[in-house]
């Protein structure tokens, strides 16, 4: 038996017994039951599987679980704190920035990552930064609005 892989996901430690080449996405969904992170394409093109790795948005379908072992992983399940939505989640909810919402987890994580390095992005910077996230229902304009709203809310709270 290969030695277990230690992961820290949403602040919790996990020990995984799986092939180290398993994509992080598969490990999250099939080994740990964290199904909020979605499969969309398996080639890093659609952004549905976006998680934060050491605070940086990454495509979890492209990252072997062994590579994720050294860094803190944040998934959509880790954003809500004590029943309070993260300001980005709240902004998506308020703006109705979804239709089928299958892309929403990835959109939110990409936006959280963006706002952590650029707290007041312009529309062009948001579009640039979310270019890798596909919303097939075409709710891009509302996602844009949600990110602007979240930026404002986070400034207000100093978050």
């Amino acid at each position: 038996m290969a030695k277990p892989i230690d992961l820290v996901i949403n602040g919790k430690p996990y020990k995984l017994h799986c092939d180290p080449e398993t994509p992080l996405l598969t490990a999250l969904r099939d080994e740990l039951g964290l199904t909020g992170t979605k499969y969309g394409c398996g080639e890093g093109q659609c952004g549905a599987c976006t998680v934060l790795l050491g605070g940086v948005p990454r495509r979890s379908c492209q990252i072997p679980v062994s590579v994720a072992a050294s860094k803190a992983v944040t998934t959509i399940e880790g954003l809500e704190k004590d029943g309070h939505l993260h300001p980005v989640q709240q902004a998506f909810l308020d703006a109705g920035a979804f239709q089928c919402a299958y892309c929403t987890s990835g959109m939110i994580l990409s936006s959280v990552g963006l706002l952590s390095t650029n707290p007041t992005p312009s529309s062009a910077e948001i579009a640039q930064s979310l270019q890798g996230n596909i919303c097939r229902c075409g709710t891009y304009s509302r996602v844009m609005e949600a990110v602007h709203q979240a930026a404002k809310a986070m400034q207000g709270r100093g978050r």
Binding site: T35, C100, C103, L130, Q131, C135, G138
Partner: protein, 720 residues
């Protein structure tokens, strides 16, 4: 083993869906009061619904005097909770919210107290499918009438309780009040201890749209919180104890048949189940990687067929047209020949549209579980009852032994009418004796799903000296009949649809063939306007009599600022409109073209849409703008490429879909006609996009593009 369990056939009714009572809704073994608890229930039946409703005959209800044919029903529990049941599916179009608004509005209860149970063949009435933009025009009125009847029942119950006449009692905010005495009873109190079921009375007036209080409002998506927290479980997110993951070995090309295979090594893998049944072969394992590894170890020999390629598509469709014997697919008025001789300007042009993919972000998926010979399947399908029947047929069991449940699904756009993944998962699960989940990869989704059909449209037309249309001859090869008729007034017409042999598996796509037919017609109208030396909007209005279509054209033009003066090189404006599925749409577009690089950018779009009384303006706006953005993909760059029975661009890296930077400034102008019944809105708003953009490109560059997609590789470069 019995025959092949995977069928790849085009849908029989891909052009127009007409619901017929061909299935059975079996309530016989269910006692829903046991299931839901005591309370009050009201049923809508086919008998007291207008014709052409989506109904099915049933075999009555155990121990209760209940109607034989049920189309929708509603239950009010002893705690006042309201549960409404419909076979419709939530796929992002927001019916869970808008139908709940309808119920809350008519029943006079807070929106939050309404729960919608959708798309579960064991719980919800038969439904033909969530197709053809029918949820609003058919399901919404049914639920409204059921709710009105339930409200009347509650008022009568209160009147009985107080021993007064029900005249003068009022129902509001979840309670019945007697204004004379000031006393009131909550619905919960009135439902307590009762098991009262009633068929819908034949005549029961409902609230007119002008008096709606909850419907007509911008209410946020029901359960929105579950989606922003990742808690909502789509089909691929479901897990069952001891569940396996199934992977199907796909043929190398369309139509290839399995001649022999060797799965010995794969079979020796620990915990792997190999299933072979006809042309179906696959592996199920405790994790996805093992299932994939097992597939690699199977040596299969296939016999392939020579096939056409996308390069010769238009010629193929014309050459393979089937002789037309169906009178429903052609119509003639006056004489096109006479109309053409009377014309001052004549125009003859051919238009084409490519195959495109729905590419829903949630790929086809299903989870199947057998228990005591009964089958339960969770799957993202627009037609749960059709999937149930397909499963029952394939596995030779009664419909009542199959339960299909559709979790709110990661979109469909007409692409999820079939039960492919459900059949595969059920086949695996039967062999494995354990629950099995099948989730298609993106490549499978791009290859083995079906496509929006490609088509060729030919138009011959004439316009008189005064700018009136004199002749219109329109032929559509393969893509379909939706919106094939011209909405313009033309005395001499011939319109015909030609079936052809189709090189790829095709089916419904948001708007069906209307996008192709709008594109051809509205591009052609633009050229005719120029021939007649009239402004494109003026030319359209001159040849129209339909006031609703005129109204959207004028509304979109007004908001857009049509006609606009060009302010810089490369700028162009276009307009297009039409009607379909009870909705009226007009789109204006502005483009910027760069003739030296060939780049084309859509800068701005204004779409006016009218679908009768608006149920949820926020949801509607979201649908209209979303359809416009999705429409940009098919208009500008989406096309499936194929060769020798293989899709050559089956990935998001090679099949381009609209992304953030493709999004123009975009406006939806919603016309609320409270005097008209609500029509659906999921499809029609997509239809004006391609011709409006094509017309704008012509305005900007003088280049008339007659094929969709318009500019997959940019505009032809200007010679310098």
């Amino acid at each position: 083993m019995s025959g092949p369990s995977v069928k790849f056939e085009p849908e029989p009714e891909r052009y127009e869906f007409s619901a017929g009572p061909m299935h059975h809704f079996d309530l016989a073994r269910r006692d829903f009061f046991k299931f839901l608890g005591a309370g009050i229930a009201v049923f809508a039946t086919a008998k007291n619904m207008p014709a052409n409703q989506e109904t099915a005959p049933t075999r009555g209800f155990h121990q209760e005097e209940l109607p034989a044919e049920i189309t929708a029903w509603l239950h009010i529990g002893e705690d006042g909770t309201v549960t409404a049941f419909t076979g419709k599916v939530e796929i992002g179009q927001n019916i869970r919210t808008s139908l709940a608004q309808t119920v809350a509005d008519e029943l006079r209860v807070p929106f939050e107290s309404v729960t919608m149970v959708t798309a579960d063949t064991a719980l919800t009435p038969f439904d033909f499918g969530t197709v053809g933009s029918r949820s609003m025009p058919t399901m919404s009125p049914q639920l409204r009438r059921v709710s009105a009847a339930a409200r009347d029942l509650l008022v009568s119950a209160a009147a009985k309780e107080w021993n007064v006449s029900s005249e003068g009692l009022s129902a509001a905010d979840g309670k019945v009040t007697d204004p004379a005495s000031g006393r009131s009873l909550r619905y919960a109190e009135l439902a307590r201890g009762k098991t009262l079921a009633q068929n819908l009375p034949a005549e029961d007036p409902v609230t007119p749209a002008s008096q709606w209080t909850i419907a007509g409002k911008a209410i946020p998506k029901k359960d929105g919180r579950a989606f922003v927290t990742g808690k909502h479980q789509y089909t691929p997110d479901l897990r069952r104890p001891a569940m396996l993951y199934g992977k199907v070995l796909r043929p190398p090309s369309f139509g290839a048949t399995l001649t022999s295979y060797d799965a010995k090594t794969a079979q020796e893998m620990d915990g792997v189940v190999i299933v072979h049944d006809g042309d179906f072969i696959g592996a199920a394992a405790g994790n996805e990687r093992d299932a994939l590894k097992a597939l690699e170890l199977i040596h299969a020999e296939w016999k392939e067929l020579p096939q056409s390629s996308s390069k010769e598509l238009s010629a193929y469709l014309k050459q393979n047209a089937v002789a037309n014997s169906d009178n429903r697919s052609r119509r003639t008025k006056g004489s096109v020949e006479d109309g053409l001789s009377a014309a001052k300007h004549r125009l003859d042009a051919t238009y084409t549209v490519a195959f495109i993919a729905h590419a829903p972000l949630e790929p086809r998926a299903a989870l199947a579980e057998w228990s005591d010979g009964k089958l339960t399947v969770w799957t993202g399908s627009q037609r749960p009852f059709a999937v149930r029947d397909e499963l029952a047929g394939v596995f030779h069991i009664a419909e009542g032994e199959v339960r299909v449940i559709v979790p709110d699904t990661g979109s469909a756009y007409g692409g999820k009418h079939t039960g492919d993944a459900a059949l595969e998962a059920a086949r695996f699960a039967r062999a494995a004796g354990r629950p099995v989940q099948v989730v298609w990869t993106r490549e499978e989704e791009f290859t083995w799903a079906y496509f929006r059909p490609a088509g060729v449209m030919e138009i011959k037309s004439g316009v008189g000296a005064d700018g009136s249309l004199t002749a219109w001859e329109f032929h559509n090869y393969n893509s379909g009949m939706s919106a094939i008729d011209t909405p313009y007034v033309v005395p001499n017409q011939h319109i015909e649809f030609h079936s052809t042999k189709c090189p790829l598996r095709s089916g419904s796509y948001r708007g069906l063939a209307a996008t192709a037919n709008f594109f051809a017609r509205e591009s052609h109208m633009d050229d005719l306007a120029r021939a007649a030396n009239l402004d494109p909007l003026e030319f359209r209005l001159k040849n129209l009599s339909d006031p609703r279509l005129k109204a959207v054209l004028e509304a979109s033009a007004k908001s857009f600022g049509w006609p606009r003066k060009k302010t810089h090189e490369g700028q162009g404006f276009g307009i297009a409109g039409g009607l379909e599925k009870g909705g009226y749409v007009a789109t204006c577009a502005e483009v910027a073209v760069d003739r030296s690089s060939g780049a084309v950018r859509v800068v701005r779009m204004t779409t006016a849409f009218e679908c009768g009384a608006i149920v949820n303006p926020d949801g509607l706006r979201n649908q209209v703008i979303g359809a416009n953005i999705q429409g940009l993909g098919g208009a500008l760059f989406e096309a499936i490429a194929f060769e020798n029975g293989r899709i050559t661009n089956p990935r998001f890296s090679s099949y381009r879909v609209p992304r953030f930077r493709d999004v123009p400034e975009i406006e939806a102008v919603l016309l609320d006609r409270k005097d008209l019944p609500s029509a659906g809105a999921g499809e029609t708003p997509i239809m004006g996009v391609a011709p409006a953009v094509g017309n704008a490109i012509f305005d900007a560059s003088g280049i008339r593009l007659r094929s969709l997609p318009l500019v997959p590789n940019g505009l032809p470069r200007a010679k310098t």
